[in-house]
């Protein structure tokens, strides 16, 4: 069931809290729907969102002078071996405990999709920008995306999902044997309506900082910049959610 939120007044403080992930999932979904319905509200939101993105991107490109590091001459292989064993046990325990914790949803995606499907009988288009490598957030996000894609297929909706990664979020598309990378690959193999892309500017920065290009997962598109992609998609009517 969807609601019409277009006549509600949302303050700039609320829009900023939305941008900064400071709202609970129901509040976030309500405001996301209102942004989709109300062109004036959408413009205010886009302006504030773009300001935030500009600040992030411009200061990230400031080169930092790294101090000369002294080589570590400590012969600590024995301690490191013992510590690795302990860490493995602790990590297993923490992993198991974390598995038990039910994470609150980042945003009520099912509600959003149901709403957009009623407002716009054609396609449902969702864009996610991932700029975090926090494993809990990524797990939560991948769980919700998978549910979303499953539901879309089950209900035979014309669903389009794009995930654009930047900054720390590039870990999601890094070609390595991490659980997150493997899940993304599986999702891409299962759903051809899922596009995964990486920010070209962020990739350039990685190359400058590490001296070598980041190896991306196959089928990962490179867009000139995450910011431009977000703006472009919003202009095309996509719902945008920052993770």
């Amino acid at each position: 069931m969807s609601h019409d939120y277009s006549d509600q007044h949302f303050s700039d403080e609320q829009l900023n809290a939305f941008i900064d992930n400071e709202m609970s999932a129901p509040e976030k979904s309500r405001l996301a729907q209102a942004i989709h319905q109300d062109a004036a509200l959408r413009e205010r939101y886009n302006t504030l969102r773009n300001v935030s993105e500009f600040v992030k991107q411009q200061y990230q490109s400031i080169p930092v002078t790294e101090p000369q590091r002294q080589p570590d001459k400590t012969n600590a292989w024995l301690i490191q071996g013992v510590a690795a064993g302990v860490l493995l046990l602790v990590g297993t325990f923490i992993g198991w405990q974390a598995h038990q914790i039910k994470q609150p949803p980042l945003v009520d995606l099912a509600n959003l999709v149901a709403h957009q499907a009623t407002v716009n009988s054609d396609d449902v288009k969702l864009m996610f920008q991932v700029s975090t490598d926090d494993p809990y957030r990524l797990n939560n996000f991948l769980d919700e995306t998978e549910r979303l894609l499953q539901n879309g297929r089950h209900l035979q909706r014309k669903l389009h999902v794009e995930i654009v990664t930047r900054g720390a979020g590039l870990s999601l598309v890094k070609n390595e044997r991490s659980a997150h990378s493997q899940r993304i690959q599986q999702l891409q193999q299962q759903y051809d309506n899922l596009i995964v892309s990486a920010c070209g500017l962020a990739l350039e920065r990685v190359k400058i900082n590490t001296g070598e290009p980041l190896q991306l997962l196959p089928n990962t598109r490179v867009v000139p910049s995450a910011l431009h992609q977000v703006i472009k998609r919003q202009q095309e009517g996509w719902i945008y959610v920052n993770i």
């Binding site: 007044h9 949302f10 303050s11 709202m23 509040e27 500009f54 600040v55 200061y59 700029s131």
Partner: protein, 183 residues
């Protein structure tokens, strides 16, 4: 065992201190836009953090603890040097560099100038949120201000930046409704 534990904690502490340096530099640079001054502030912060290591009870709060030291250093610097120039009249060295002719550099300069024109409080609050992606609650703790002040500073700062970057007039909100709940 305690000796081994203390040694491991210290090792982790110094590792984190090295790792956080670039982030401290970006923050410090965003507050004063001078590379040498930002470097000095970061160096001073790292030295103080090493001296005060015992005061940090839990490494989980490491980042915010170091940010707080950086903030205090910056405040002390302003107090000592009594920086009273009108920030609007302040000319950055970047403006006169040949690179500023380049489109990207121009964009960076304009964002930097717009950020520099914010008040100290707004600038610190905004950069902690946008560059470090801290929560409002964390920023309130670091800056020692109420969470409502964080929200209003972010709001005013982004409005001013929007005005400067996109030539949008700042307008007071009609019947502005305060956010009732923050996560």
């Amino acid at each position: 065992m305690p000796v081994l534990k203390i040694w491991k904690q210290h090792r982790e502490f110094t590792r984190r201190l090295e790792a956080i340096r670039p982030r401290l530099f970006r923050l410090a640079y965003s507050w004063n836009h001078q590379r040498d001054l930002a470097d000095d502030l970061v160096q001073d912060t790292l030295t103080k953090a090493l001296k005060k290591e015992k005061q940090l009870k839990d490494l989980a709060g490491f980042d915010n603890w170091v940010f707080k030291i950086l903030i205090n250093n910056w405040r002390n610097y302003l107090r000592r040097n009594r920086v009273m120039e009108n920030i609007d009249d302040y000319v950055f060295t970047d403006n006169t560099s040949p690179e500023s002719l380049h489109e990207k550099a121009l964009a960076i300069t304009s964002v930097h100038e717009a950020v520099a024109a914010l008040s100290q409080g707004q600038r610190q609050t905004l950069t902690l949120i946008d560059l470090e992606e801290l929560s409002y609650r964390e920023v309130a703790t670091i800056l020692d201000i109420p969470i409502g002040t964080v929200m209003s500073r972010v709001c005013r700062a982004r409005k001013k930046l929007a005005g400067a970057l996109f030539a949008i007039k700042e307008q007071p909100e009609e019947s502005s409704r305060m956010l009732r709940r923050v996560k």
